[in-house]
Symmetry: C2
Amino acid sequence: MGAAIAMAQRGVGLTGVNPSVGCVIVAGGRVVGRGCTAPGGRPHAEAVALAQAGAAAAGADVYVTLEPCAHASLRGPSCADLLVAARPARVVIACRDPDPRTDGAGIARLRAAGIAVSEGACGAAAARPMAGFLMRRRHGRPHVTLKLATSLDGGIALASGESRWITGAAARAHGHLERARADLIVVGRGTLEADWPSLDVRLAGLEARSPARAVLTRGAAPAGWTALADPRAVAATEASTVLVEGGAAAAAAFLAAGLVDRLLLYRAPILIGAGRPALGDIGLATLADAHGRWTLADARALGSDRLEVYERRRD
Amino acid sequence: MGAAIAMAQRGVGLTGVNPSVGCVIVAGGRVVGRGCTAPGGRPHAEAVALAQAGAAAAGADVYVTLEPCAHASLRGPSCADLLVAARPARVVIACRDPDPRTDGAGIARLRAAGIAVSEGACGAAAARPMAGFLMRRRHGRPHVTLKLATSLDGGIALASGESRWITGAAARAHGHLERARADLIVVGRGTLEADWPSLDVRLAGLEARSPARAVLTRGAAPAGWTALADPRAVAATEASTVLVEGGAAAAAAFLAAGLVDRLLLYRAPILIGAGRPALGDIGLATLADAHGRWTLADARALGSDRLEVYERRRD
């Protein structure tokens, strides 16, 4: 399943409203087929992997990160039907598909055809590449990542407003990679007016993956930008994954609304002191309310900076 | 040498104005003696290790973190003389002793007696247990550690002042261990008046190691406390190692004076937003001045909190 999850990672940010799924087919101890959801959402991962495997899929083990779809479309048969035709011995599924057109129907169809199905716990690693899809299906809104690039003491600028640069080249490149994986980037009106950020992906080979842009404002948005009157308005966009890039007021507005699912914390080994803090008022009444919300999911060095990724606990 | 450095760690905070030194004696591939500077500063590590080794020290290899002293005292002969009498084949020394009574004289005496001496680079790991001693000798002031316990966004309290607790039990216990390793703890006047902190070591078995207490104030200090009119006044105390525990103004004053050698950064997985920041004005004019000052020396988990230790670069 680890290999299937790694396949799924490849499609993140490319599959639109569809989930990025990974599929690996193993026969006789060898990988005979693998695939991930293609850009735009079709073909599905299982179709790609089955086409690779050909006749070797018969009697094989299929590992797939999301339940195979049970609904045929104009663009082809359902993955459940493709699997029934290929006759694998076993299908191992990490997450059940919350799409009401599938939601267990894919599993039922496989079992009815005599194929063994193991349904695994939908662990954090398997859910991550399709976090946007799952959030859309379960809560009717996109998955939201908040990016903060701060000094060790939580500053994002000097009191003068000087903010270039706090983090170094490696951290900034990583930030561009995160842009490439998002459908929509949001900034606050203050950041838009102060910086007129282009918010594009400046990484060789990924320039075409620059996401759509939105600004948090009750007023009008400039050409090429969407206006969001409130953080909750992201639900009405087409985005499955949103990256909030600042500034402090916009970041705080998303946090206060309880809409941040993931924190990307880039930290430079510097101290700023009295400067501009990373966050405005997030509506916290007591310290007790602040605890238990975030779990560290990743920590790594990026040059002399450090990246920490925290995920919101929703248990 | 790693084993000798580990021995030296044992004496940190116990040796007063003397450095905490470690010594390991190896003969025929076996450790035949080891020692660290005893509480109060005597006997020295070499004397302890040589007493353990006895006749086995003849022809052995001696690893010691600081150059053996060349000056006899009322409390005993010099370590250089003890080593000459014990006749090891070789003495490996990490750091040269900056004390003018030794400063190369210990090495010269060993060599004059026909003992091979290897003088290693005084690396960060070997210097750390005697950081206070080295800072006193080289710069005439104690080694200063600044402790900050913050949220992910650098807050130390809510706007209301509520600050208990940001970090959890494991981080707070670690903070008490750091107190036990310091000679003097400093807080600002605001922290003293708001909290009347006892600043003692609340760890079983270490209660007796509570350090002296000072408050940064131009006024008078309460009984049992020393008043420091300015951060630079730590030079006039007897302390070799100082721990600054806050608040934001005191922390900033030590940073602005360029007196902080080590940062202890305890961070809880919480966000506070608009609250009280960890630092006041540190006198930073441009971001360029902030870079290149700090190097990560350690990072670890303490419960759900994280500790990072940064050391000031002085190159």
